[in-house]
Symmetry: C2
Subunit: 230 residues, 2 copies
């Protein structure tokens, strides 16, 4: 299945590499292709800029947001949550029709430094996931994978035999099944994919991320995840 990945940060890079290794053709989409390939500044977590990664991964296709959305049969939103909607609006609206948008973005506000808060207009009674669904009713938004480090997203078995939780939510049952099928290719077990219901549940998983960041700071590690004990 052809995959569009919107966003060239660490999450986009990690998902692109995994999709490529699984045999899915991938195109990364960015607002400004020239700027992206020359980017060397590090992100909020100290990861290297896209330029270096792109040089090292010759298989990676790169295009504008419009190119990538047009290319992909499934679109992964790995852009910054605060601007995800305006980023996706760079594409041709018709190119979203009937497609699944797998949304991983969080509305993290680093403007006061670490730890981040959430943008008020995109949290509590709203979320990035809902805002995208509202803006693109022709697409099926599925929120998942946004509550963990990107290395773990694509390799759940690297931790505790893969027995930890990945939340999923969205309005369309068929779209959730498509995403679940991809998650299983990553190694996620059916019993560890927890369906919270419709896309409004995205507000609760996005709100988990500030707690995740605090735990990371205490542990000085990103190699952990939550599990539900019952």
């Amino acid at each position: 299945m052809k995959i569009a990945i919107i966003g060239t940060g660490m999450v986009g890079q990690t998902l692109a590499a995994k999709m490529n290794s699984l045999g899915h053709p991938v195109m990364l989409g960015t607002r400004n292709v020239e700027a992206a390939v020359s980017r060397t500044d590090r992100d909020n977590f100290g990861n290297p800029g896209f330029g270096e990664w792109y040089k090292a991964n010759g298989w990676a296709k790169l295009g504008t947001i419009a190119d990538a959305v047009s290319f992909g049969e499934l679109i992964i939103n790995a852009s910054q949550g605060a601007s995800s909607v305006s980023t996706l609006q760079q594409a041709n609206p018709g190119d979203f029709s009937g497609k699944v948008i797998l949304d991983i973005a969080n509305p993290l506000d680093f403007s006061r430094g670490m730890p981040p808060s959430l943008y008020p207009e995109l949290s509590n009674t709203n979320s990035v996931g809902e805002e995208i669904q509202r803006t693109f009713p022709q697409a099926h938004v599925v929120k998942t994978l946004n509550t963990m480090n990107c290395g773990l997203m694509v390799n759940p078995a690297s931790l505790g035999n893969g027995d930890h939780i990945n939340f999923i939510c969205g309005n369309d049952a068929g779209a959730k099944e498509k995403v679940k099928s991809l998650l299983k290719e990553f190694g996620w077990k059916e019993e560890n994919i927890f369906d919270l219901g419709d896309i409004s549940a995205a507000r609760t998983t996005e709100a988990l991320v500030p707690l995740w960041v605090r735990i990371m700071s205490v542990k000085q590690s990103v190699a952990f995840n939550f599990k539900i004990v019952e």
Copy 2:
């Protein structure tokens, strides 16, 4: 140790009974004693009013907020998060001096029904825990136990051999040790009490509760908790 419990809801009742069973003298504090003993209306989760519980538990002392705070060597805030500060302000400020306030309250807004959101002024960049600490600098606020059902708070071993997480945070190390010691009386194991740092971390554990409510709705059960896998 003499314990004041502020709030006569399900959480206050459960903690009072546990403290009593452990041999700690307990006084519950409420704004209006007469109203509390005649209360029969059910709470947001369908639990019976305080009046019935009070009749059935003859050992329970009941007083005003001022009475209870004066009585307690340690004060447990189990009042509604939205009004916790004004509730605690009913007491004599001097009666808080040097005491620990163990804060369990969450800023849940049920005004739109289920599931709840958080009061914006008490979340994201603020929290009930921080607001109480700011208002009562003469006390040491420790936030804990607020991310689970009250039955589990006082009986962690009832689930998964007690191996699930209870977050704790607060500015004073000595106060956190006092609270940990109480938690251990409840059955919490040292390794499952996760210290997130200062009281500002309360904003991240309070923000976990809307996710907890969604999970509860899917599972149709309150008998679960989170665990950290690493």
